[in-house]
Symmetry: C2
Subunit: 586 residues, 2 copies
């Protein structure tokens, strides 16, 4: 790693750059980049999902947030790369740090493809964009993926979606909109592929004008029959196909006013549009919000996906309990593999929605633990096992975390387990006025923890796509003051936790569907309905900490899990689940 950074420094000296900023993103500002764009791991060895690197003549630093502090400290040890902590009160974001180093005189180089226009413009000094900056050192750099593309039917046709988007263009007085976020493009065209691990997306750009639809998608000659069939369907619907790299002709070709979303538009393309004097309408793409509100067919699909996922989860938890009881040596990795197999048995399963976190004991104290392939810890009596996983199904996306006690829990484990569940239930039970943003509900899930001065360093909830990214906006439930109101049809996770370094971690996660809850003289009301179907372990509870309402909620949920899943499970597992879901008394 140090060698790679030194190569970069040699280039910096030759070019006279004061700093190079390397981000963890791709040309579409995707949350998960394809291998080609995993530049931060390549340079630094840090593999966390969020991290940006800054290299100057005498400093190399990695910026990441609370979720990855422990992992970063481990992976950066000995590299000479300093950890810069984000989402802490004393945080110094990259622009402010650079300003502190170079004032407004710095010459800052970035790979403009992998830097958002918003971010690049926030950097102080002079910003130079060098597309594929690392190409000159990175010899075996992977190519841009091109996987088979297929169509989906989410209950709204391409035509309907286009009509709606064109109404938006009229409203905005724009002649076209360039979609750059990959999940927005997949949603808009009702297409999916596997260009990015865990994300059924197609790396591409989509231009929609008042009369045309141009999809910049072809990386190589397309030979697979699935993609060819998809292209025929799209062409019949009037979609023009062009090479992916042709997007760089857009600035010179486009006539009129173009709507762009600077949060997912890369700086290279943005600069080219500005240089070509294309009049820009800048704002938040309307697709994100529309996509987040699931239609009835998508909701039905999500329910079906959670039914299949629940069957896989219960089979998994049964297998794990019996195996550990029988004294078989099951590692965290074995467990993750087994869960993947059980999901793969489900009829609509197409892959995992993210890398399974399978963590026993101290490993679970890392909210985003990566289970090691080799020499993974063995799951045994005397600790909490945390499993955070999800599936991509043709009918929807899932994301679930369960924490399972093996052997007797310590008093602290029991308290933490119970307080986190109280937080989970508080959010799940919430009733709130129409128009409420998720950030206003975040404290409900934390209050039971706060009372005993415990907390967790990640958000409580994120949006989830319909057979799309397991993380999607624009809504969320977290500390940041995101003003987006929750709306009926939105799906969010409910996943409070507690992490004690070197000891244990607890997290309980269901996906919740936001639903209407009637109207009173005080206005219109919303509430949540759990989509996830999988029992919680009640053995680990300290019952005296639970209120009547919480016990009632839990008993009703457990009963629903049993009633819904048991007909789909083998008899011995159904009987085991009957036992696991027995009502508890307060």
């Amino acid at each position: 790693m140090q060698e790679r950074i030194e190569m970069l420094r040699a280039l910096m000296r030759a070019k006279g750059w004061d700093a190079v900023v390397v981000t963890g993103s791709d040309p579409h500002q995707s949350e998960y980049p394809a291998e080609r764009w995993k530049q931060v791991p390549w340079l630094s060895g840090f593999t966390g999902e969020a991290g940006d690197l800054v290299v100057t003549a005498d400093h190399a630093g990695l910026w990441t947030d609370t979720r990855y502090f422990i992992q970063a400290e481990q992976q950066l040890a000995g590299t000479g790369i300093a950890l810069h902590k984000m989402r802490v009160p004393e945080q110094v974001p990259i622009p402010a740090w650079l300003e502190g180093q170079f004032g407004s005189d710095g010459l800052i180089a970035v790979d403009g493809l992998c830097v958002g226009a918003d971010f690049a413009q926030s950097l102080p000094g002079t910003v130079i964009s060098i597309p594929d900056l690392l190409d000159r050192f990175w010899e075996d750099r992977p190519a841009i993926p091109q996987t088979p593309i297929f169509t989906v039917d989410p209950g709204q046709s391409r035509r309907e979606k286009l009509e709606w988007l064109r109404a938006f263009l009229l409203e905005q007085d724009c002649d076209g909109i360039l979609l750059t976020a990959l999940d927005e493009i997949a949603w808009m065209l009702n297409v999916r592929a596997s260009d990015i691990e865990y994300n059924p997306l197609v790396i591409s750009y989509l231009l929609i004008t008042r009369s045309e639809v141009v999809w910049y998608v072809l990386k190589d000659e397309v030979e697979d029959p699935e993609s060819r069939a998809t292209f025929s369907i799209l062409e019949a619907d009037g979609v023009q196909l062009r090479p992916y790299a042709d997007i760089y002709y857009l600035p010179s070709e486009f006539q009129g006013r173009l709507f762009v979303d600077a949060s997912t538009l890369n700086y290279q393309l943005y600069s080219a549009l500005v240089a070509a004097s294309v009049p820009l309408g800048e704002g938040t793409s309307p697709v994100g919000l529309r996509k987040a509100v699931k239609n009835p067919r998508e909701v039905a699909g999500m329910r079906e996906a959670h039914l299949q996922d629940g069957v896989a989860m219960e089979r998994f938890l049964y297998w794990l309990e019996k195996s550990v009881e029988a004294g078989r040596e099951i590692t965290e990795w074995d467990a993750a593999v087994k869960l993947g197999q059980l999901r793969a048995d489900q009829k609509d399963y197409l892959g995992d929605s993210f890398e399974t976190i399978s963590a026993f004991g101290p490993g679970a104290a890392l909210p985003h633990y990566i289970t090691p392939h080799d020499r993974a810890p063995v799951i045994r009596e005397g600790g909490l096992y945390l499993c955070d996983s999800g599936g991509q199904y043709g009918c929807g996306t899932t994301d679930i975390t369960r924490t399972v006690p093996f052997g007797r829990c310590s008093a602290l484990e029991r308290e933490d387990y119970t307080l986190v569940l109280k937080g989970h239930i508080a959010l799940a039970m919430a009733v709130f006025p129409e128009g409420t943003p998720g950030c206003r509900l975040d404290a409900l899930a934390r209050e039971p923890l706060w009372r005993s001065k415990r907390n967790f360093g990640h958000g409580t909830g994120h949006g989830v796509g319909w057979f799309l990214g397991v993380h999607e906006g624009p809504q969320d439930i977290r500390q940041n003051l995101n003003p987006t109101p929750l709306q009926p049809g939105m799906v969010v996770s409910d996943e409070p936790g507690i992490y004690r370094e070197g000891r244990h971690g607890v997290r309980h996660e269901n996906l919740l569907l936001c639903v209407e809850a009637g109207e009173t003289e005080f206005g219109r009301w919303l509430a949540f309905e759990p989509l996830t179907l999988c029992h919680f372990e009640t053995d680990a509870l300290q019952l005296s900490l639970l209120d009547r309402d919480e016990i009632d909620w839990l008993n009703a949920y457990q009963e629903r899990v049993y009633r819904t899943l048991s007909p789909l499970l083998p008899r011995e597992i159904a009987e085991w689940l009957r036992d696991k879901t027995q009502a508890i008394c307060g």
Copy 2:
């Protein structure tokens, strides 16, 4: 009123203006203006504390928020002035409304003295500033007040405060700062007066440069000995005194870069500074935040003020209960007068901190009810009486609401009373991480109400000054996503409510002091400590709705009220209070 609006329209026609915007504020963007600047009531008849008026050739509209809808509907009836609702999802603020009427071509006249620079710049079209626009119609318009000015000793000297502010100037690379918010000026100079009802403020401007302090304060020749003594003290400290109106020489006189806060700087002065090419540093004045964090002496003073206030409140509640029991005819007005007298008996009392809301039955359904002087409703058995009041004491400021049942409560009254108290207690008991803004705690006070689909249309808490405004920023606890973190030493109100038009209203309000609550492996913690000392009526509670924790909190609070106040009360009232504060069982 219609006549006055027609006079304004005649002027508009003569001048060619498309609209006149008249705001409810003064040249300092004060929350409560002096009589001279009560332009909206003079023009419209609406006397609510928040309201702006827009007049066009064929429309006159009043913009106000949820707190004043009922009052506005009553007071505007028959005037032809339409009510424009704010703080509702469908709100159309004045700038957007004007844009809808005139696009960007409108000619909009304002009295630039009474319009903030921020607001004026948000208006579409061409904005013309006419100082004292209404002078030509308003013949007996009151003069600018000039009341006796005295000094206070809050534990920090003028010198210390100046030193701190000059360090800020250096940091900001500015040569001077113009303070325009009246409470900031009073805080800075340790002076008070009575220029504005309920607010111990001096109408003035304060310029602080690296070497000078200039106070633009003199409206007329000063003859009262108190002000003269104060001026001598200030002059000895190096403060120069100048006529109030001399502020308009500032743009031509000032040399260097001037820091201003556009949220309290009026548009007239702002435009003059811009026209004179004075380089401006614009931002939030640092005084607001510093002032909000009370020092130990101010905290001690607030405690003393609440002790005196508690004595007055308990004497009042005793008197009221006994009077109504005895069948005496006590009106809402009589009650407010009596409470004022009992406060006036307290040693440090200097006035009320706002107009007492004394409301029985349906009147209490208006969160900001104005008790009528004549023919006020009589307080009698069979209803809830709500009293929201506060005092200005030389040692601090108070603000308290109690809701008192007379006779048997209906089931709904009882439920509302209890749910609001649950909300109050939830916030009072909150423990939260350092850095948490109040908006993240707002839902804690609402959640018990939300669960049964009830809500209230005002904020849960506002900051309170130290012998200054009863409302102060920058912190608050409300729906709006105000990012200001709560800090130890800040004072906020905790005042959830429920209002049922035509039936009843409930509000429970204490002031809370934000305090440190230790450190754990999860970070540093804050909590609240009630400053207010006055019992809650437990007769009106539906005990089955209260949790163990809530009952414990309430019993401990009631006991503290009894122990603290009873030695200061006559024996029969102390005995009555013993009874009122008996512990309840869940």
